[in-house]
Amino acid sequence: MKHLEIRGLSSAYGSVRVLRDVSLDAGKGEVVSLIGPSGSGKSTLLRVLIGLTPPTAGEVSIAGEKVNYRNRRSVKAVRDRMSIVFQQYNLFQNMTVLRNVTVAPIKIKKRPRAEAEEDAMSLLERVGMAERKDAYPDELSGGQQQRVAIARALATNPEILLLDEVTSALDPERVNEVLDTIRALTSEGITMLIVSHEMAFVREVSTRIAMMDEGRIVECGSPARIFDSPTKARTRDFVSKILKH
């Protein structure tokens, strides 16, 4: 049984079909990356998984349990086990770094404040942001904000972590600090779905890579296969274009 199983998932914005019959799975602790041109539906796939965009067809199971995205309880349960980090504007602007990280453990998981803060500090330590625990998001650089966002996503002890282009809005010199943070996570047994245009990084950390185009998964395989001997012309095209610069 796979940890995350996606079968024939479709979704649409109004009459525009954005995901078409997507199937994908990930074993426990696996790091699966989604690549593909912009507009191909990568973000939408992650949004459907976390229950922000409703699916029109298909099913998703986590550790064998089917998710019902029409049921609030079921969606809540999914979000209990799954966290997401977006491209930008992640952190609550009105809360300090520490408060951002502790808000869900305290308010949702009902953990005692002291305990939650202790755990939050060790997470902030791991992403290298412990010293800035009392800063507000607008006092931090983009890269620092994203590292805090990752800490916040981890604070609820997710089994599955979704990362949607978390470095795309950053200055080039800030990208590496965030990638380093993610790299350190890949060996911790958290199942990860990563959307990224950082091809070298994707190749290095992924166990498998899925190529998306026009709402479909065109091809899925090991990093070596996708990058060195893709079978589909669309993948070849995309990979060669993006590796050129």
Binding site: L52, K76, D80, S83, F86, Y89, N94, V103, I108
Partner: protein, 226 residues
């Protein structure tokens, strides 16, 4: 004309007149602030209602929108007349001050609701989605994420709106509420020069409204800076 005014000044600023004017100013401020506080509360409720989705609250939402859109398009004077003639037979003995205050509430609810709504909607969608995926519920999201970020956008126009209302309550004089404007009219009818009577009334309005409009401008500047 000027000699007449000069002659009247000592009499005009006699003890009883000054008390009379101060009481009237108190009624103006009372109507404004009572009306705007209630308006703020109900306006907030309607604004929040309009943020909800789903079929359960469809009808209340529609009513909220209708209320706001309709009441922002009726002159205060007309609302005053309607409220007067509806409340008088229903609840005889309601003071004119009460009737005027109810009218202020009705109108300020509509306008403040619109101001609060644009404040709430100024918070980026990502912030709300961020709260959702952490499993914060609607009320938690509202009070912990949206409101703390939107009051900065709400306060400056809200303060400007209250300034507006200090002036608009002058229309309540036509109902017979002895607020600032009516006090002026009464003094003029007692034989004081209109320049003196209405001039002093203007000065009083200015004294009430100017500090608040300065505050509104200051808030706005601070908001732009941050």
């Amino acid at each position: 004309m000027l000699e007449q005014i000069a002659e009247q000044i000592p009499l005009f600023f006699g003890y009883h007149n000054v008390i009379f004017i101060l009481q009237a100013a108190g009624r103006t401020l009372g109507m404004t602030f009572a009306g705007c506080s209630v308006g703020f509360a109900f306006g907030f409720l309607i604004a929040v209602l309009r943020q909800t989705t789903g079929p359960v609250l469809f009808l209340p939402r529609l009513l909220g929108i209708a209320y706001v859109e309709i009441f922002r398009r009726i002159p205060f004077l007309v609302i005053l007349f309607i409220v007067l003639f509806v409340i008088e037979p229903l609840m005889p003995g309601t003071s004119l001050f009460g009737i005027a205050t109810v009218s202020v509430c009705l109108l300020s609810t509509a306008f403040l609701s619109e101001i609060i709504r644009s404040g709430l909607e100024s918070v980026p969608m990502q912030q709300i989605e961020g709260a959702k995926v952490l499993n914060l519920n609607g009320l938690q999201t509202l009070f912990m994420v949206i409101l703390p970020q939107s009051w900065k956008v709400i306060l400056p126009p809200a303060a400007a709106f209250v300034v507006m209302f200090i002036k608009d309550t002058s229309l309540a004089s036509q109902l017979g509420v002895i607020e600032m404007t009516f006090a002026g009219e009464m003094l003029v009818n007692r034989g004081f020069s209109p320049v003196l009577g209405f001039g002093v009334v203007l000065v009083c309005y200015f004294a009430m409204s100017y500090p608040l409009s300065r505050l509104a401008i200051r808030l706005e500047k601070r908001l732009e800076a941050s």
